[in-house]
């Protein structure tokens, strides 16, 4: 866009030089080089390794009952956690943008804690909290609620990991939202709840969905925070990334399972990435639409 305006600003009739700024070849060349050696070639190693398997081997590896159970757990827990984050992320973003309260700056900074705190630290800390002798576990367990070493614990860890995504995607959109629209809605007789569901919610829907998809994508691949709290029982509380690790630890490199399951995860993360990109494009169009 900026180049387009620069070209348009050049005197008409004379062909403007195509690129005024130097360094295009160098920066693009280095970007492609570095991208290739760090990301593309290693990822293609995974794809090529998978091509050495026959289709039957591949299918048997990715559809084994224990692997299928891990998909159900991983995607189910990730979906639940992203859903909780959708609701509470919106709530936190709303409170941070619309209301004033003491300590707001600190609360705002704290939202990013899951980005900054290493996942292993989050994992052992949540486990210590939820275990029977922990601060939270000692209250819940007498009531018959056990969270640690259960699938429910996985959901809790994934809520922690994904919390900032929805807040950070919705917050800027809420900040830019025009209050005039809400005033107009009220003047036309809408209640506050109607204004929220009919005026505010549609304008933040793309951002909400983007945040949801990001939290979900992050949760699907998450390993560090989950393994401490999960209990890691095959068929019950074993997540898909752990299947890969388990096979590697048995030095089963030649075996099909680790690479085949990794390819499935890679394809899913690529699809999620494309969905997130499409949602972001939708959001930009939404924001760019004439008010």
């Amino acid at each position: 866009m900026t180049t387009a305006t620069a070209v348009a600003a050049a005197p008409a009739g004379r062909r403007a030089p195509k690129r005024v700024l130097p360094g295009f070849g160098l920066s693009l060349g280095y970007t492609l080089f570095y991208l290739s050696i760090i990301v593309l070639i290693p990822l293609s190693a995974l794809i090529f390794k998978t091509f050495t398997l026959t289709w039957e081997q591949f299918w048997a590896a990715i559809s084994a009952p224990r692997v299928m159970a891990s998909y159900r757990l991983t995607f189910g827990a990730s979906f639940l956690a992203a859903l909780v984050n959708l609701v509470f992320g919106l709530l936190i973003a709303w409170v941070l943008v619309r209301y004033k309260f003491p300590g707001k700056k600190i609360v705002d900074a704290l939202v990013d804690l899951p980005f900054a705190l290493p996942t292993a630290v989050a994992g052992i800390s949540l486990t210590a909290l939820l275990a029977g002798n922990g601060w939270v576990g000692s209250i819940l367990e007498p009531m018959g609620i056990q969270l640690a070493f259960k699938p429910a614990g996985i959901v809790i860890a994934l809520i922690f990991i994904g919390l900032p995504f929805v807040v950070r995607t919705v917050q800027p959109v809420l900040e830019d939202a025009e209050k005039e629209l809400e005033e107009a809605a009220t003047c036309l007789g809408a209640t506050r709840l109607q204004t929220f569901t009919k005026v505010i919610l549609p304008s933040i829907t793309p951002a909400l969905l983007t945040g949801f998809a990001m939290a979900f994508a992050r949760a699907v691949g998450e390993y560090g925070s989950v393994i401490f709290i999960a209990g890691n029982m095959p068929m019950v509380s074993e997540i898909t990334p752990l299947i890969i690790i388990g096979k590697l630890e048995q030095y089963d490199y030649a075996g099909a399972t680790a690479t085949a399951v990794a390819v499935v995860m890679l394809v899913i993360s690529f699809i999620l990435l494309l969905i997130i990109n499409a949602l972001q494009a939708w959001q930009r169009r939404h924001a760019g639409a004439p008010a």
Binding site: P22, I41, L113, V121, I124, A128, P241, L273
Partner: protein
């Protein structure tokens, strides 16, 4: 008539906020959720680390394995972060400053490592450099160790922190446009001079922001590093792996003592991040408030 008008205005203003009880309920709910899910886990790290007193805490940190883990973590970050910094600046320069075919696809590829599971990130390097990998036999013949050694840990860390700096810089540089750089070039500056004296001062806070987030992740990465490290005590253990080993050996205080170092790093990261973000916003605001350029009126 004016009474009716002011009533409408009052109603409209009331229409952009909620009744006090709704406000307080929402604030309480949001803060309660954050207390439960963010503050409590953070506090638990320090509480568990100090459970047997400050002496036991220091004892946990004084272990020789802890020191080698700290050293390895620092070395890893010291290699990974500068490499991704150079890449981030190069990628942001070509993506933000130029239009070319395939730009959207390139941006997606830059983002790709964020959505790849850390475990898969570790696995791909095992498939490249492991004993049975592409380069495995050649590496073994030449006695070079990458997997289960420091180079593998560095590579996996670079992969998982790959997009951080580029991602901060691309939107920032796109928002700033090319005008200032073009003016510098037209006035005779070289490309490097333009970068050092025009672009860099404009992006420095965004750059700092990206670097500290990249650093936090580089020092705290667990999944990817765990796959390639081999968990050799005193040699290929970073702090997060050290935490895991101690925890699994039921050395709770020592595990949380090492974890508390990472939690402190996270807190420092958040503080610097907040400052950098604030400065960045101010710089953008100042740039937006500059009067449009026009010749100064004569005689003033």
């Amino acid at each position: 008539m004016s009474g009716a008008n002011s009533r409408t205005v009052r109603r409209a203003q009331a229409g952009t906020t909620e009744a006090p009880w709704v406000r307080y309920t929402l604030i309480t709910l949001a803060l309660g959720f954050m207390l439960l899910f963010l503050v409590l886990p953070l506090a638990a790290v320090f509480a568990e680390a100090l459970r047997k007193g400050f002496g036991a805490y220091l004892e946990g940190l004084r272990e020789p394995d802890a020191w080698s883990a700290i050293k390895l973590t620092l070395i890893t970050a010291l290699i990974a972060v500068p490499l991704n910094l150079v890449f981030g600046v190069a990628a942001a320069w070509c993506i933000a400053k130029y239009e070319f075919k395939g730009k959207a696809f390139l941006t997606t590829l830059v983002d790709l490592p964020f959505s790849v599971s850390p475990v898969v990130a570790g696995l791909i390097y095992v498939l490249m450099f492991g004993a049975q990998g592409w380069f495995g036999p050649w590496l073994m013949a030449n006695d070079i160790k990458i997997i289960f050694a420091v180079p593998g840990i560095v590579l996996a860390t670079i992969f998982v922190t790959f997009p951080f700096i580029a991602r901060e810089l691309i939107p920032l540089m796109q928002a700033q446009g090319n005008d200032e750089e073009q003016a510098a070039i037209v006035l005779g500056a070289t490309g490097w001079q333009t970068f050092w004296y025009v672009t860099l001062p404009n992006i420095k806070w965004g750059l700092l922001y990206g670097v500290i987030l990249c650093n936090a992740r580089a020092m705290g990465e667990f999944g990817a590093v765990s796959v390639v490290s081999g968990h050799i005590r005193g040699q290929t253990n970073t702090i997060p792996l050290h935490v895991e080993i101690l925890y699994n050996e039921y050395q709770s205080v020592a595990a949380f003592a090492a974890a508390s170092l990472l939690a402190l790093l996270a807190l420092v990261t958040l503080v610097i991040k907040t400052i950098a973000e604030h400065r960045n916003e101010q710089a953008l605001k100042a740039a937006a408030e500059l009067p449009p350029e026009r010749p100064a009126p004569a005689g003033v």
